[in-house]
C-alpha cells in the first residue's frame, strides 16, 4: 500500500450536453504503484482519454475520490492542481504538443520554469541536458520543433515530461501520429525508462504496444473489465 502513487476510488465522469448525458466513466477503481507500467486499452470512445485526464488533474471527476501519493487531490483548486501536475506528473500527448516558437531546450525546460522551487539556470541546464541524453537528442538542443521528425518531436516531449522528476508519466496514444518505425523507437524509450524505475500509465489502442506493459487494463463503456492481472483498489 505504501508504494501506491495514484489511487482512484469509485471515480465517475458524466458529460452533460444540452439533451445528452454521457456516462464516460462509471465507478473506476484503480491503483498504480511505484515502478508500474500500466497500459489502458479499449475501443474508441470507451473513456480512455477521459480517465487519463482525470488522473492527470486536467479534468475533474463527477464522483469518487482520487489520491496522489496518499494525498487527496479530488477537489483541488485550479492553481493547486497546476502545482501538483508540475511536481508529480509528466504528460506525453498523441500530438506531441511542443511549442513551435521555443527551441528544443526551452520546450524541455518549460516545466522547471513553472516549478515552485524556482530552480536557477545552471540547474535547469543540467536537468535539461540529462533528460535530452536519455532520449538521445542532445545534438538537437537548439533546433525548433518543426525542424525535427515526428519521432524526434515525441522524444523531446518525453524529455519534457521527465525533466521535473515526476512521480508518474501519463501517456496518451504516444504513437498515434507516428509511422511504425518511429513509434517503435518511442516505445523503446518508454520501456527503458520504466526499467530504470519510472512509473508509467499509457493509453493505447494498439494491442502490440499494450502488451509491452506489465499491467493491462481493459476499458469498455467506461468500466474496467475484470481481469486477473488487474489490481483493484480495496
Amino acid at each position: 500500500m505504501s508504494t501506491a502513487i495514484l489511487s482512484l476510488h469509485n471515480i465517475g465522469k458524466i458529460f452533460e450536453t444540452e439533451e445528452l448525458e454521457t456516462h464516460a466513466l462509471k465507478s473506476i477503481n484503480l491503483i498504480i504503484n511505484k515502478g508500474d507500467y500500466v497500459s489502458i486499452s479499449g475501443p474508441s470512445g470507451c473513456g480512455k482519454s477521459t480517465l487519463l485526464s482525470i488522473m492527470g488533474l486536467l479534468d475533474v471527476s463527477s464522483s469518487g475520490e482520487y489520491f496522489i501519493e496518499g494525498v487527496n487531490v479530488t477537489d483541488l483548486s485550479l492553481d493547486d492542481a497546476a502545482e501538483v501536475r508540475n511536481a508529480k506528473i509528466g504528460f506525453i500527448f498523441q500530438s506531441f504538443n511542443l511549442i513551435d516558437e521555443l527551441s528544443v531546450f526551452d520546450n524541455v525546460a518549460l516545466p522547471l520554469r513553472y516549478h515552485a522551487d524556482k530552480p536557477n539556470n545552471a540547474t535547469i541546464k543540467k536537468r535539461v541536458t540529462e533528460c535530452l541524453e536519455k532520449v538521445a537528442l542532445s545534438h538537437r538542443i537548439s533546433h525548433k520543433p518543426n525542424q525535427l521528425s515526428g519521432g524526434q518531436q515525441q522524444r523531446v516531449a518525453i524529455a519534457r515530461a521527465l525533466v521535473a522528476n515526476p512521480a508518474v508519466l501519463l501517456v496518451d496514444e504516444p504513437t498515434g501520429n507516428l509511422d511504425s518505425k518511429s513509434g517503435d523507437q518511442v516505445m523503446d524509450v518508454l520501456d527503458q525508462l520504466n526499467k530504470a524505475g519510472t512509473t508509467i500509465c499509457m493509453v493505447t489502442h494498439d494491442p502490440r504496444y499494450a502488451d509491452m506493459a506489465r499491467t493491462k487494463v481493459q476499458l469498455l463503456d467506461g468500466t474496467i473489465l475484470q481481469s486477473p492481472a488487474i489490481k483493484i483498489a480495496s
Binding site: G56, L58, L78, A82, R85, N97, Y114, A164
Partner: protein, 804 residues
Amino acid sequence: MNLFIYQLKQAYLSLKQKPIFVLSVVSTMGITLGALLCVLTLAYVMLIKPLPYPDQERLYNVEHQLISNENAIDGRAFTYPNLMHLYNKQSLFEQSVLMYVDGDVITSLPSEPMVALSFVSPQWFSLFSAKMALGRGFEASEKVNSYNPVAVLSYETWQNKFDGTANVLEQNLTLGGNSYRIIGVLAASNIEAPLAGAGFKTELYLPWDYNSVSERERKRWGNDDGGLIFVGKLDKKYSGYSKQKIDQILTRLVSDNWQSEVAGHAFFKDWSIALQTKTLKSFIVSDGERSVYLLLIGALGLLLIACANIANLFVSRTVERQQQLAISAAVGASKTQIFHNILAETGLLMFVAIVLAQFIIFIGFSALQYYLGDFLPRIDELELNSFSFSISTLLLVLLTVVFSLLCRKMINYHALNTTLQSSGKGSGIQVSKRVRNILISSQIAIATTLVFINVVLYKDASELVNQPLGYQTENITSVVLALPSVEKGLQVQKINELKSELLAHPKVKNVSQAMRPTGFGTLALTASITEQRYTVLGKDVDEQYFNMLEQEIIAGENFSAADIKDDSSVMIVNDVFAKKLAPNGSAIGFKFKNGVEIIGVVNSINVPGRQRIESRFYYPASLARNMLLIEQHQGQVFSRDEMITALKKVDRKLSLFSFTSLNEYKNQRLFSSQTTAVTTLVLAILTLFLSGLGLYGILNYSSQMRRSEIGTRMAIGAKGKDIVGLVIKDNAGALVIGLAVSFVVLLVLYLSFSDSLSAYINLELLPLFMLTMGAIALLSSLACYIPLRQFIKKPVIHSLKGSE
C-alpha cells in the same frame, strides 16, 4: 455579369448566417462614415464651394484698421465718416454695398416683436442678386441720402409676422418712431450672405439712411463701430490688380483724408488708417475655418479607429471561415475566385454601411444646422449633393479593396488545400505575429493620441466653464428698453418712474441702471501728468451696480448717488488697470486729462473667451441710460410679461427691446466651451470603448490561435497568472511601440502647430499624458486578460481539447 450576381448572392447568404458580425461592421462603418461625410460636406461648403452670388470671385470685404502710434492695430472696425468717404470716393469697385446691423421693435404690430435689422444701400439687392417673392428691392430711389422711408421683409418675417398676406405691400410699419412703407418681400430661396456673423438672420431691410448711428457719431472720425460693413464688387478692369495694390489704393484714399481731418486731435498724433481687402468668401468663413479643421481631425480620427476595429473583425471572420474556404478550394475554386468571393462579401457590407451613412448624414446636417447654425457660416447651404455622393462612392471602393486585400493577405491558398486533410488543424489562415503586432500598435497609437487630444481639449473647456466669473449671475435679469426719441429730461423722468414702479413690485429686490456686466465699450484716455495714452474697455454704471453683482471694491470707494446724479468726474478702475497706472503705489487719486479722478479699485471680472489681464474702468451712468439690471428676491421669477406690464403702466410708448437673465448670457458665452467639454468627453470615452473592443478582438483571436499552446503550458504546471503574465509580456512590445508612436505624433503635431497650440500646452500636461498612457495600458491588460478567462477559469482539458 451572371457570375457577379451569383457571387453577391452567395455573399448575402453567407453573411445572413452572421448577424452579429454584419451588425457590428455596418453600424460602426455606417456611423463613422456618416460623421466623416457630414464633416467633409461641411468643409466643402465652407472652404471650397463658391458663394451663391454672381461673379463671387470678384466680391470683397474691406476691413478698416486703426493703427496706433505704437504701430499696433487698435481697432478693426470702420469709423462712420471713413466708411462714407470710401463709399463716395472709391472707383475700384463697380458696385459697392454699405450695411449696418442692429435690432429694434416693430411698434405698429400688436405683439411688438423685436426684429433683426439690416440697413443697406441699394446695390445690396443687385450685388447679391436677391430674388423677390413680392414687389421690389431698393433701387436708385433709395440711394444714400435720399431718405425714402421704405422697407423690405425677409420671407420668414412676411410669413410669421404678417401672416403671409398678399396685401402686405400696401401696409406700413413703425419702428423707432418712423413709419416705413413695405415695398418688397424676399423670396424663400434667397440665401443671405452672413456678413454680420453666422447666426445673424436679417428679418427686416431698411434703407442705409435710417441706420441707428446717431447724427453726432456720424461725424466722429475717431470712434469705430463694429456694425459698419463694406462689400464691393471689383471692377473687371482691375481684375489683374494684386491684393497689395488694391489695399494700397484704398488705404491711400481713406488714410490721407483721415489724417487731415484728425490733425487737431492730440490723441491721434502719429496714428494711421489701413484698409485690408479680403475675398468675401474667406471673410465669411474666417472664424469657422478652425472649427471645421477640428471637426475634420475628429472625424478622421474616428474613421481610423473604426477601420482598425473593422479590420480586426474581418481578420476574425476570415479565421472563422477557414473551413468554408478550404471546402471551396477543395472543390476547385481558384485563388482569384476566392478573392472575388471575399470582394463580394466586403463590398456588400460596405455598400450597406454607405447607405446607412446617407441617413446619418441627413441627421447630421440637421444637428449641425440646429446646434452650430449660430457659430458656423453657410451651414444652411448643407445638402446631399454630387460632392457627398462622389466621396461616398470613392470611400465605398477604397474600403472594399483595402479590407479585401487584408483578408487575402491572410489566406495561404496552398495551405488551405491541405487544411481538410490535416483534420482541421490547418494553417491555411494565418495572422502573422507581425501583422498582429502592427494592428495592436496602431490601435494603441491612435487611441492614445485621440484620447489625449480629447482630454486636453476637455480640460481646457471645462476650466473655462468652471472658472469663477468674479460677479454673481443668480436672480439678475438684464433689460434693454426701446424708448421713443424724446427730450432728455423727459426720458430721465420716465426711467425714474419705471425704477420706482419696479422697486415697488413684490418680486423685485433691487434695480441698477447699467448694461449687463460683460458689455464694454472701448475708450481713449490720456493721463494728466505723463500724457501717456491708454485705450481701455469702459462701462457706465450707477451706484447700485457693484453691490448687486457682488463685485468687490478692494480700495477706495463706490460711486455715491450724488456722483451719478451730478455726473461727477470720477471713475473706478479694475485691479489690472490700477496696477498699470500705479505699479508700486495706489491708483486712488490718479487723474486724467479730461479731469476725471480715480476714486476706487474693483476686482477684475472674467469674461469667457477674453484675457484676464484686460484693463477696464467704470464711470457714472447717465440717468437717461436705457439699460437696467433687475435683481429678484431669492426664488422669485420676474417675468417678461410682468416687465412689459410695468413699462406700459409708466407710459404706453415705452417698449421692451430685450429681456435676458445673466445666467442666459453666461450660458450663451459658455455654450461652445460646454459643447466642447461634452463632445470631447464623449469622444474620449467612445475612443476608449472602441479601441478596447478592437484590442479585445485582436487578442481574442490571437488567444484562440494559441489555444493549444496555452493548454499545453497549463498541463505542465502553468497557473492562470503565469498565462496572463505571458500574454501581457508578449504584447508589451506592441504596447510600448504604440505609446511611443503616439508620443511622436503628438510631438510632431505640437512642433508644427506650436503657435496656435501654445495656449493649450504646458508642463501640466505631462501627468495628463502619463494618465492617458496608464489608462490605455490598463485597457490593453484587460483586453489581454478577458479572452484568457475562458482558458484559465476552466479545467485544462477544455483548452487542450479545442486544439484537436
